[in-house]
C-alpha cells in the first residue's frame, strides 16, 4: 500500500525525521489559509498523487505571495499530471500540499528497501539527490552507496557515520545525518515499510537536514497491525474496479484486450493470460479468485469482468485444489441468474470435484456456456469466440 507525501511526512516526523511546516488542502482558498498560517515569504505548492516525477510534470510550483499560492493551487488542483510513473493516462490532482520554502545548500538521496537476494533491509544513499534515482542507478551505479542492515542489531551509529563520511558531511552535519538516518530506519521498521525514499533529503543553510520529499510504501501483509496506515488509504488513487474486487477477496487488474479471464491462483492466472496472447488473442484482465472462492465470489468476479464492455468472451480456468470445482459451477449458475450474459463463457474445470461440476453445468442448460477439456482447448476456444463475437 502507498500513501501520499503529506501522509508520509506525518508518519516520518513521529519518528523524528525532520520536515518543513506544511498542510494539505483540497481547495485554493484553503491553500491560501494554510500559507498564511505557516507564515514566511515563500511557499511551495505540491500536487499530491501516488507517483514520482511531479516536479518535471508541473505539479510542484513556488509561490512568493499569498495570491500566488491561491492561483497556483487553483491551477494544480484538477490538473491531469503525467509523469514517468503514471503512464500516459496520467493522474488527476485532488489535493495539494502547501509547504514552507527553505534555503537549500545541497540535495541528497536516502532510501531503505528490502534486498530480496540478501533478505535484509538495505539503506541506499547518494549525493545525486532530487533526480530520478533509477537513472542514477542505471547510468552511474557507483554513485549509490549501500549499507546492509542486520535485522538483529538494526542500523548502528557507526554504519550511519560511514554513510555520512561518504556523502561528504562534516562536523555537526554528521551528527544530524546519523539522527536522520536512524529515525528513517525506525520508521521503516516500526511501520512495516516496503520502501522509504527521501528524495531529496536536503542540507539547509544552518547545516540541519530535512526531508523535502518523502515516499513510503507498506507491506500489505502487515497492515493488520497498522490501523493508522490503513486509515490513510486513498481509494481515489486506485482503480475503482480493483477496489470493488478486493472487497470480495478477488485480485483483479484491468487490461486492454477482449478475452476476460477468471482463474484460481496467481501463477495459473498469469499463465492463462500468457496463453491467450500466444493463441493470438488479448487478455482483458487478470483475475485471481483465490483459495477461498465460493459461489458468491465467482458470481461477483463474473459481474466485474462483464462491466468491461471490451470483453467479447470469458475464459473460466479453474484447477481445483482447495477450491472445489462444484462450488465454482454453482457460482457460474448463480451469476447467470442475476445478470444477463450475452457473450460466450468458456469453462474449463479440473481437479477437486471436477466431474460433479461438469454435471452441474450440463444440467443447467445455460446456452452461453462452452465446455473446454483442458487449458489448451480453453484458450483456443476463448480466442476464437472473442474474434467471432467482435
Amino acid at each position: 500500500m502507498n500513501i501520499h507525501e503529506y501522509q508520509a511526512k506525518k508518519v516520518l516526523s513521529k519518528f523524528g525525521v525532520a520536515t518543513l511546516l506544511g498542510k494539505v488542502a483540497t481547495s485554493s482558498s484553503e491553500a491560501r489559509e494554510i500559507a498564511e498560517e505557516i507564515g514566511g515569504e515563500m511557499w511551495v505548492v505540491k500536487a499530491q498523487v501516488h507517483a514520482g516525477g511531479r516536479g518535471k510534470a508541473g505539479g510542484i510550483k513556488i509561490a512568493k505571495t499569498l495570491d500566488g499560492v491561491e492561483e497556483l493551487s487553483k491551477k494544480i488542483l484538477g490538473m491531469k499530471l503525467v509523469t514517468h510513473q503514471t503512464g500516459s493516462e496520467g493522474k488527476i490532482v485532488k489535493k495539494v500540499y502547501i509547504e514552507a520554502a527553505a534555503d537549500i545548500k545541497k540535495e541528497y538521496y536516502l532510501g531503505i528497501i528490502l534486498d530480496r537476494q540478501k533478505e535484509i533491509p538495505v539503506m541506499m544513499a547518494s549525493m545525486e539527490g532530487g533526480v530520478e534515482i533509477e537513472k542514477v542507478a542505471a547510468e552511474t551505479p557507483e554513485k549509490i552507496i549501500k549499507i546492509d542492515i542486520d535485522p538483529f542489531i538494526g542500523l548502528r551509529d557507526f554504519q550511519a557515520r560511514m554513510l555520512a563520511f561518504k556523502l561528504g558531511f562534516k562536523n555537526k552535519q554528521i551528527k544530524y545525518f546519523v539522527k536522520f538516518a536512524k529515525a528513517l530506519y525506525s520508521a521503516y521498521l516500526e511501520m512495516d515499510g516496503s520502501l522509504v525514499e527521501i528524495n531529496p533529503m536536503v542540507l539547509l543553510e544552518d547545516d540541519s537536514l530535512i526531508a523535502l520529499d518523502a515516499k513510503m510504501g507498506f507491506d500489505d501483509n502487515a497492515l493488520f497491525r497498522h490501523n493508522d496506515i490503513v486509515a490513510m488509504r486513498d481509494f481515489e488513487e486506485e482503480d475503482p474496479m480493483e477496489v470493488e474486487a478486493g472487497k470480495y477477496g478477488l485480485n483483479y487488474v484491468k487490461l486492454e484486450g477482449n478475452v476476460g479471464c477468471m482463474v484460481n491462483g496467481a501463477g495459473l492466472a498469469m499463465s492463462t493470460m500468457d496463453i491467450i496472447k500466444y493463441e493470438g488473442g488479448e487478455p482483458a484482465n487478470f483475475l485471481d479468485v483465490g483459495g477461498g472462492a465460493n459461489a458468491e465470489t465467482v458470481a461477483k468476479g463474473l459481474e466485474i469482468i462483464l462491466k468491461d464492455k471490451n470483453v467479447k468472451a470469458i475464459f473460466i480456468n479453474i484447477f481445483g485444489g482447495i477450491v472445489r470445482c462444484d462450488r465454482i459451477a454453482k457460482g457460474i449458475i448463480k451469476a447467470t441468474k442475476n445478470i444477463s450474459i450475452e457473450i460466450p463463457i468458456i469453462v474449463r474445470l479440473d481437479g477437486t470435484n471436477a466431474k460433479e461440476a461438469v454435471d452441474i453445468l450440463n444440467k443447467s442448460k445455460i446456452s452461453k456456456l462452452i465446455p473446454a477439456t483442458d487449458l489448451q482447448d480453453g484458450a483456443r476456444k476463448s480466442v476464437k469466440f472473442a474474434k467471432e463475437n467482435y
Binding site: 528497501i113 534515482i133 549509490i144 497491525r225 501463477g267 498469469m270 500468457d274
Partner: protein, 289 residues
C-alpha cells in the same frame, strides 16, 4: 526414492485443531501421511482426528519423534510457529500460511540459519511424494508416482503441471511448492541439487514467475551443476507493469525480474522452456523420449 519427505516422515501439524488445519490434516491422513502429532497451545492432552494433541512442538518431538512440521497457523503468529518448530529440532518445516509480514520472515530466515532448519514456503501448497506422503494442501489424486521432480513458485500451476506430466504418461518423484513470497525458505537451487542427487528422478520441471531473480540464479546453477534434463515454464509474460516491484527494488536486484529475462537465462543454460503452460507435458515427453 524421493527428496525431503517419504512414508517414514513423522509429521506434526501446527494449528492442528483450527478450521484450516483440521480440514487439510484430515486429507493428509486419508492420503496416508504419517501424522504423529498435532500442536495447539492450550489443547495439549486431547485427541483430534485420532492423533494426540500437544501444547508445544518440543513435546511432539520428544514423545512422538516428529521430524517434519506442517504449519496452518494464522499469519500474525506463523513466524513464531516456524521458529518454535526450528527450536524444537524439527528438520523440515512446511509453512502453508499466506500473508506473513516480510519483516517477520526476515527474522525467521536469520534464525533458521542457526539451527540448519529446512523451510518450505510460506504461502505455498507444500510437498508431496506420491503414494508416500502428502504434506500440504494439493489435491493428492493429481500426483502419480514417477520419475519427474517438480519445483514450483505457484500453487495451482503446480497441479496443472503435474496433471500434464501424468497425462503424458509419466509421474512425479516429489513435487514441492516453494511459494511466491519475496522471502521464502528453500529455493530452486537447493531443490535442484537434491533432485540431481536423487537416483529416481530422471528429469526436473521448474515453474517460475515474474519478480525477483531466483530463476536467473537457478539458470546459472543448472548450467554448471545439473546433468539431468530440466524443463521450465515462466508465468507472467503478459503481466501488467504496475504489478511489479518498485524501481528501487529493481536497483537492488540488479534486474527487473521480467519473464523474458528469465526465459533467456534458462535457454542459455540449455533448459527446455515450455512456450505456454499447456505445453509442459509435451516438453517433458520430448526430453524423456
Amino acid at each position: 526414492m524421493s527428496i525431503l519427505v517419504d512414508k517414514n516422515s513423522k509429521v506434526v501439524v501446527q494449528g492442528f485443531t483450527g478450521k484450516e488445519g483440521s480440514f487439510h490434516a484430515e486429507q493428509c491422513l486419508d492420503y496416508g501421511t504419517n501424522i504423529v502429532a498435532g500442536v495447539t497451545p492450550g489443547k495439549g492432552g486431547s485427541d483430534h482426528l485420532g492423533v494426540p494433541v500437544f501444547n508445544t512442538v518440543r513435546e511432539a518431538v520428544i514423545k512422538q519423534k516428529a521430524n517434519v512440521s506442517l504449519i496452518f497457523v494464522p499469519p500474525a503468529f506463523a513466524s513464531d510457529a516456524i521458529m518454535e518448530a526450528s527450536d524444537a529440532g524439527i528438520e523440515i518445516v512446511v509453512c502453508i500460511t499466506e500473508g506473513i509480514p516480510i519483516k517477520d520472515m526476515v527474522i525467521v530466515k536469520k534464525y533458521l540459519q542457526k539451527n540448519n532448519t529446512i523451510l518450505i514456503g510460506p504461502n505455498c501448497p507444500g510437498i508431496i511424494t506420491p503414494e508416500e506422503a502428502k504434506i500440504g494442501i494439493m489435491p493428492g489424486f493429481v500426483f502419480r508416482k514417477g520419475k519427474v521432480g517438480l519445483i514450483s513458485k505457484s500453487g495451482t500451476l503446480t497441479y496443472e503441471a503435474a496433471n500434464q506430466i501424468v497425462n503424458a504418461g509419466y509421474g512425479i518423484s516429489t513435487a514441492i511448492g516453494i511459494g511466491g513470497d519475496p522471502i521464502i525458505g528453500y529455493s530452486f537451487i537447493d531443490l535442484l541439487k537434491r533432485f540431481e542427487n536423487d537416483e529416481d528422478t530422471e528429469a526436473i520441471v521448474m515453474i517460475g514467475e515474474i519478480g525477483g531473480d531466483l530463476e536467473i540464479q537457478a539458470a546459472k546453477y543448472i548450467k554448471e551443476n545439473i546433468t539431468k534434463p530440466v524443463v521450465a515454464f515462466i508465468a507472467g509474460q503478459t503481466a501488467p507493469k504496475g504489478k511489479r516491484m518498485g524501481h528501487a527494488g529493481a536497483i537492488i536486484a540488479g534486474s527487473k525480474g521480467t519473464a523474458k529475462e528469465k526465459i533467456d537465462a534458462l535457454k542459455k543454460a540449455n533448459v527446455n522452456v515450455a512456450e505456454t503452460a499447456a505445453k509442459i507435458g509435451d516438453t517433458i515427453k520430448k526430453v524423456l523420449k
